[in-house]
């Protein structure tokens, strides 16, 4: 898929973030620069401690940064930091004491959105993520994969423009993970959201991403940023294609693994 030249939705330029501890400085991100167009599914890939999660938190407004730029929104796609972010973490983080529908509704409650419409939307989203009929179940009644689907529905309920996902399938078994990758592509296509997806899985990044931003450690820095052009729709078959192998190899090289 080629991205037509539009105004970027996310602009990160020369971003630098330093952690200070006991008078010493540890660079978490040094000089990251990339842009993401509206509707892209951009993957941030790299080993643990490379700053990809920090970058996600900066974009979510949860952390500040030392220098550079990190902007979201454009005149054609305005962005409200309070209600245009949906987040999904490695753990589903569902509230144990709430039934599924009430869990999905949490962001709508916090933002004070009209409950009747939000409930309808939450039901539709549960259907979309493959959990129809589970509205009244408690989280403990669901498998890890199903809980993570509910977490994705929760991230979408307030109709945010940007979904930030921090290794959302990292705790799932390999087969469930493959399945969730396919479902995520479906959900992304149907919702039209811009998604920023943090992972340390190289093939996951190539399979999902319209764009991959590669981070390395020691020192933490951004190594590369490129578009992925693979045939659409993406099916598991493309994982054995030559182009897929080339992209994967490129990332392995960047990470110093030959």
């Amino acid at each position: 898929m080629s991205i037509t030249v539009t105004e970027p939705f996310i602009r990160v330029r020369n971003l630098r973030k330093v952690y200070r501890k006991e008078g010493r400085e540890f660079p978490a991100i040094s000089d990251a620069t990339f842009a993401v167009a509206p509707g892209e599914l951009a993957c941030l890939v790299g080993p643990s401690g490379c700053g990809k999660t920090t970058l996600l938190k900066i974009l979510a407004g949860l952390q500040n940064y030392d220098s550079g730029e990190a902007q979201i929104g454009s005149p054609s796609h305005p962005f409200d930091p309070a209600r245009d972010i949906g987040m999904v973490f490695q753990q589903p983080l569902l509230l144990k004491w709430r039934r599924l529908l009430q869990n999905v509704l949490l962001p709508a409650e916090i933002l004070g959105l009209p409950m009747r419409e939000s409930s309808e939307r939450a039901r539709d989203l549960l259907v979309m993520v493959g959990l129809s009929g589970s509205e009244d179940k408690y989280p403990y009644e669901l498998s890890g994969g199903m809980q993570q689907r509910a977490a994705i529905a929760r991230a979408l309920v307030h109709d945010p423009k940007l979904i930030l996902m921090d290794e959302p399938f990292g705790a799932l078994d390999a087969l469930t993970r493959e399945k969730m990758n396919l479902e995520l592509i479906n959900i992304w296509k149907r919702s039209g959201k811009t998604i920023l997806f943090v992972t340390h899985g190289i093939s996951e990044a190539v399979f999902l991403g319209t764009r991959v931003v590669v981070f390395t450690t020691g020192p933490a820095r951004m190594a590369d940023n490129f578009e992925i052009e693979l045939p659409e729709p993406r099916t598991l078959d493309i994982k054995t294609s030559e182009a897929f192998g080339d992209y994967s190899r490129r990332i392995y090289h960047l990470l110093g693994m030959q």
Binding site: L62, M87, Q91, W97, L106, E109, L111, H158
Partner: protein, 253 residues
Amino acid sequence: MSADAARRYAPAIAVHAALIVAWYLFVKFGRVPSFIMPTPIDTVATLGGANYHWLGNTLVTASEIFGGYLLAVVVGVAIAIAFTWSSIVEATFMPLLVSLNMIPKVALGPLFIVWLSYGIVPNMIIAFSISFFPILLTTVRGFREVEPELLELIRSLRASKWQTFRKIQLPSALPYIFSGMKVGAILAVAGAIVGEFLGSSRGLGYLMLQVQVTLDTAAMFMAVLLITFIGVVLYGLVLGLERLVIVRDARIR
């Protein structure tokens, strides 16, 4: 009671009954003198004695226990909320509370009596002071046990402090609050009785000291049973409330 519930509770009821039977057999056939240990029948028979004022004494002790305990729950949870709200308040006052908690509360009993004279109130205060700290500690812990990423998720939605507390921190702390309340319930009973031993003119603890002089062991046993009964009722109420609040959301199954 349904057949199902009967089956579930039958072992517990049977073991209680067995203990009473064993007690009876031990005294009866062990030739234990009744001033050392009365039989269960002798014990219950004291309920007929007019000069023991069982009802009045039980009500006095019960109000000391319930009053002190209720105060401990309210104050303990309130202080825990204040600590959760402001880390400066916690950093300032938590060490002080830890120091104060190191004071043996029993040693304060005579002082409370000097300050407040004999009566229900000083015993209530002793029950309060002894049961309040575990409630505070577990509640503070409960408010802290929220996954940091869940707080980040809420923060990314710009949730207010009140929303965070009401929707996340309070419900996730509830199991901790109840476990503190259960420990506190047991301590409150001990606190009130210690208070009555130190100085009082009414209550089951007071009665025990009175009848001890005449070696009326059966009445002492009855007093212990009634104190235990008050404790069981309090504990049962806490369990019932816990079930009402938490089982509903399926965390205890």
